[in-house]
């Protein structure tokens, strides 16, 4: 959990590795190691939670945790270069010291979904927390507790598909169905082609005893919902992760609210049933 005495105080970390993830270099995955190994124990998290990456002198950005708690010794974050902090972070080097403040928010309710089938639907680089989710579900401690697991993932081009090693390994397993798609055919691609909703329509697992976990840009989330409705999914069983501008991550600074709920403190994970009662301010 986050520092009890002062939730504003980041845990100091060192950049252990940086992987450039996309051809346009707009995505990089950072691997952090805690300077104080005790902090890693304190930073106890579940898939779907996020943390504030704290770059000294620049500020903080809330980023979903891409590693799974079953992976020890480090935490992973994939960062898109958009603003001041993320641009600066993209120019930092292995060995640099910065801060990670978290974990924040609520995880995907994986513990409440025991005994059920799960379909995980990822679009674009929002795959990060879902990659963590699948990694967590597939861990030998957890896998027996769940039924059929399906992973659907789409991105613009093969170069924009993250965590290739992971999903290629998953494709070889028989306890998970993996469908990876790109939006437009390119030579050499042997997987599926099309937007995520179209791919989902083709392969959508039956709704019975199944929960869907979706993360992606607003347009992808919006267009995926009708496919799930058609397949018989109820809003209770459609679980989504929102993002809004954040500063404190603690439900205090006020900007990330969706109606009375704070995306940082009460989310970022909501069911569609919950969101149907809330203003669409995300």
């Amino acid at each position: 959990m986050i520092s009890v005495n002062n939730p504003y105080l980041p845990y100091p970390v060192r950049i252990a590795d940086i992987v450039v993830d996309s051809p346009d270099k707009s995505l990089r995955t950072f691997k952090f190691e805690f300077l104080d190994p005790e902090d890693e124990t304190r930073f106890e998290y579940l898939p779907g939670q996020f943390a504030e990456l704290s770059v000294p002198g620049q500020g903080e950005i809330p980023i979903g945790i891409a590693s799974s708690p079953t992976e020890k010794g480090y935490v992973l974050f994939t960062v898109n270069r958009v603003g001041q902090v993320s641009s600066y972070l993209h120019n930092m080097r292995v060995g640099d010291v910065m801060g990670v403040r978290g974990p924040l928010g609520h995880p995907y309710p994986v513990r409440d979904l025991k005994g059920r089938n799960i379909v995980v639907i990822a679009s674009g680089f929002a795959v990060t927390t879902l990659r963590a989710t699948v990694a967590w579900l597939l861990h030998p401690d957890n896998r027996p507790n769940y039924g059929r697991i399906t992973f659907v993932y789409g991105a613009r081009s093969p170069g924009h598909l993250l965590f290739r090693e992971d999903w290629e390994a998953w494709q070889k397993r028989d306890d998970i169905d993996v469908y990876v798609a790109i939006y437009k055919m390119v030579p050499g691609w042997t997987g599926k082609v099309g937007f995520v909703p179209a791919v989902l329509q083709e392969i959508c697992p039956p709704a019975e005893n199944t929960a869907a976990i979706i993360c992606g840009p607003p347009i992808a989330i919006k267009t995926t919902q009708p496919v799930l409705f058609e397949a018989g999914y109820k809003p209770d069983n459609i679980i989504m992760s929102l993002e809004n501008r954040m500063k404190c991550g603690l439900g205090i600074c006020g900007r990330c609210n969706v109606g009375p709920e704070y995306v940082c403190k009460d989310g970022p994970v909501f069911t569609l049933a919950q969101l149907n009662e809330l203003p669409p301010e995300y």
Partner: protein, 342 residues
């Protein structure tokens, strides 16, 4: 808990006693210049209310919270360190009941169901809060309509009121009782006196049924109502309402640095600014002033009551009513919210 009296003769000594061993903050100045400032007494009881709300005592407009060294030869370079809550023993005299109530609303945000803000907590909980009841509420006041009272006790350790050129005081918490005893206030029984004065003070305020109606209506019913574009049209988006509101608590976190190090600070922010919610991608969930104005009023009158057991985010202090350059009056907006159809 009991009641106490301080006579005209002992008043000066009472304030001296309050200021002993801690700082005493009390309203000073008149009208727009009235502000909480440090004093050892005497304290004038003749003021309407402080121009700015008292929230700045616990939540300064700019507050440094963390700092770090940058140079490699310093220990813990590039590691943020806590600057502490900067709390000092304080007694505030003369909080109006509306403002004390407003501070409790912020308190429940700063100390919410999951996290505790140490900077707020240190200052808020170490301060003894002595309220001064309003015998003659100002024309723009409407605390009673918001569930408060000119003699409201919420968030106070002591409630005082002017009596016979001195003070009547009602202890509300053990800390309040203790400070009154130490200041040698005389025990008294003021219940009947206070009840009569409260009744008279409330009479000067209109009662508003609209707020009950708002409570009953669902979020989306209020949200989708068709009046918001019209309600927001005159808004300049300046955020004066939020800067002056005793319950507005939103802030921005910023880093500033130089060659040797930097600090992380927080500054008051306002939901009336488009930047408040602007995503890095350029997407803005509240892109125009219609959404922003709606957010402010929904927050005050619907969201906060939902989360805080019915206590409203508006305490009826009337500051925004007076300060809004475009005269967007929360009382009128509440009436529209109660009536408007989707």
């Amino acid at each position: 808990m009991s009641d106490y009296l301080v006579s005209e003769k002992t008043l000066a000594g009472f304030f001296t006693a309050l200021a002993t061993g801690r700082r005493l903050l009390a309203p000073q100045g008149q009208g727009d210049d009235c502000r909480l400032a440090e004093t050892t007494g005497p304290v004038s009881l003749d003021y309407a209310n402080t121009h700015l709300s008292p929230k700045g005592v616990f939540f300064p407009q700019t507050e440094k919270i963390l700092a770090f060294h940058k140079l490699a030869d310093k220990p813990k370079a590039n590691q943020y360190q806590d600057l502490g809550d900067q709390a000092q023993p304080t007694v505030i005299f003369g909080l109006r009941p509306c403002d004390a109530r407003g501070l409790t609303v912020s308190n429940r945000v700063f100390q919410n169901d999951r996290f505790t803000d140490p900077y707020w907590k240190g200052k808020y909980e170490s301060a003894i809060k002595i309220g001064l009841a309003c015998l003659n509420p100002s024309p723009q006041c409407f605390c009673a309509a918001m569930g408060g009272s000119p003699f409201g006790e919420m968030g106070l350790d002591v409630l005082a009121y002017p009596k016979d050129q001195g003070l009547g005081l009602k202890a509300l918490t053990p800390a309040g009782e203790e400070i009154l005893k130490k200041a040698q206030a005389e025990p008294a029984d003021l219940a009947a006196d206070m009840a009569a004065l409260e009744k008279k003070a409330i009479q000067s305020q209109g009662s508003l049924d609209d707020y009950a109606t708002i409570n009953e209506r669902k979020i989306m019913e209020l949200y989708k109502a068709d009046h918001w574009a019209k309600t927001a049209e005159p808004c300049l988006g300046c955020g004066v309402c939020t800067f002056f509101c005793p319950t507005c608590h939103c802030f921005d976190i910023q880093d500033e640095q130089n060659e040797v190090g930097g600090v992380r600070m927080r500054n008051w922010d306002t939901c009336m600014s488009p930047l408040f919610t602007l995503h890095g991608s350029g997407h803005n969930p509240r892109p125009s002033k219609v959404e922003r104005v709606r957010q402010r009023f929904m927050h005050k009158l619907k969201y906060i009551p939902l989360k805080q057991d019915g206590v409203r985010g508006c305490t009826g202090c009337g500051r925004c009513v007076v300060m809004c350059p475009a005269n967007i009056d929360i009382r009128s907006v509440a009436a529209v919210m109660a009536q408007a159809s989707a």
